[in-house]
């Protein structure tokens, strides 16, 4: 019984079967095939829509995430990065800040170095930043020389330039940088000053900033 031949479906008929509106029985002379196709494309059943809430939730979430078009995430990212760099800058500055203040105030033109030596050199040890940390026991010379101001200002400069490009305006307002600004002789001179500080070998005093305190000593 299963061997009898079915009528061959022409291309045209096949196309008609494929193209007819779903859910409608195809009148092609192939009734059983038509019925099967109609059944396969029958209207939706409720149990086929069980994922609706999840899909809508995903749509909602996506809409929130991209509300003003895809610009948002990038802006967010940048903002986040900025906050981060400012934080890092603040932390670095805080670490260097003690020195910075001690060093800067200790060596500011107006002030003689009366007591900066002990303060400065302990701080230098603490930061372990630059060249001089191995000689904390010769405290009298170091602080006046390149040692104490350079590392601290360097630290500030590093913090400053790390936050550069994005947040200079904020950096200026940050009290942690006031020492640096003072040392540089003005907020607008900080970049040049820092370029100098970071670019030069420690102790080499070819500075541009007028307020730089330690050089005159040489």
């Amino acid at each position: 019984m299963s061997n009898h031949r079915f009528r061959r479906i022409s291309r045209r008929t096949a196309e008609r079967l494929l193209c007819d509106a779903p859910g409608r029985t195809r009148a092609t002379g192939h009734d059983r095939l038509s019925e099967v196709l109609a059944a396969a494309s029958a209207p939706a059943r409720d149990r086929e829509l069980t994922g609706e809430q999840a899909a809508l939730a995903a749509f909602r979430a996506a809409r929130l995430a991209t509300a003003p078009q895809r610009r948002r995430p990038r802006m967010l990212k940048i903002a986040l990065a900025n906050v981060l760099t400012v934080k890092i800058a603040a932390v670095t500055a805080a670490a260097a800040g003690g020195i910075a203040l001690a060093a800067a105030t200790g060596t500011l033109p107006g002030q003689r170095h009366e007591e900066p030596s002990p303060a400065a050199d302990t701080n230098v040890v603490a930061t372990t930043s630059v060249t001089t940390k191995d000689k904390p026991n010769s405290p009298d010379k170091k602080p006046d020389n390149s040692a104490s101001p350079s590392p601290s200002l360097k630290g500030l400069c590093q913090a400053y330039t790390a936050g550069a490009g994005s947040e200079h305006g904020k950096a200026h307002e940050n009290p942690a940088f006031s020492a640096l600004i003072t040392a540089a002789g003005g907020a607008d001179k900080v970049p040049a000053f820092c370029a100098d500080q970071l670019g030069e070998k420690p102790g080499k005093p070819d500075h541009t900033a007028p307020g730089k305190p330690t050089k005159p000593e040489r």
């Binding site: 192939h30 396969a40 996506a62």
Partner: protein, 220 residues
């Protein structure tokens, strides 16, 4: 043919978004009234949830049936995955409602292929009738499909086709894509898809012919 769709652009995951999806419609009278459907799409684009819900209700049953043939019982899970991606990438979709159907189907198919790969398992529809070892023989399935005109039975019957034929038939008949859009989803040439669909229909007809006629006989 200038309009052979290069489906190579459709990566396996993700990078479908942003592609303009507006297949030419070769036949009128597709499943949804176009104006209403376009309105849903426009509303959804504006962020309107009801618009997206309407799209879901329109497309999901089709996807689910297609997936049922591809991944069997896991169809619902795969469909959920697909809808998460559809919702997420919806903002980058460009195209009309037909395009949306094709785009969504491509995502669903990619998720299904991922799923199958993960399972290291052959697709349910792989192989011919004889290869499939299942409790019900093809005749029984055909009988059930004809007798009850049940959707699931019809899908089960289609699932017995070789996969390329099954997919071609489903994409055209169930999902409602035209040959070109179906070809785009499958990454083939429209001609190949057309041929596969025609073969699929012939094979189906053969199965049906082999089955006992639809005289109300539950069994012989």
């Amino acid at each position: 043919m200038p309009r052979v769709q290069s489906a190579a652009g459709f990566g396996d995951s993700g990078e479908i978004s942003g592609v303009v999806w507006s297949p030419r419609r070769s036949s009128a009278g597709r499943s949804i009234a176009d104006t209403g459907a376009e309105a849903m799409l426009t509303a959804a684009r504006r962020g309107d949830e009801d618009g997206f819900r309407a799209l879901y209700r329109e497309v999901q049953p089709k996807l689910l049936r297609y997936l049922q043939v591809l991944v069997g019982a896991d169809a619902e899970d795969v469909a959920s995955d697909a809808w998460l991606q559809i919702a997420r990438d919806f903002g980058s979709f460009r195209g009309d409602v037909d395009g949306f159907r094709g785009w969504a189907t491509t995502i669903a198919r990619n998720r299904a292929m991922d799923h199958l790969r993960r399972q290291q398992r052959r697709p349910v529809v792989h192989g011919t009738v004889e290869d499939v070892a299942e409790p019900a023989g093809p005749e029984d399935t055909a009988q059930a499909a004809v007798d009850s005109v049940a959707t699931d039975a019809a899908l089960a019957l289609i699932a017995r086709l070789p996969r390329d034929q099954a997919e071609a038939v489903l994409l055209r008949v169930v999902v409602g894509l035209d040959a070109k859009a179906a070809a785009k989803v499958l990454g083939k040439r429209p001609g190949a898809v057309r041929t596969a669909a025609h073969r699929g229909l012939r094979t189906l007809a053969a199965h049906l012919d082999k089955a006992p006629p639809p005289g109300r006989t539950p069994s012989e």
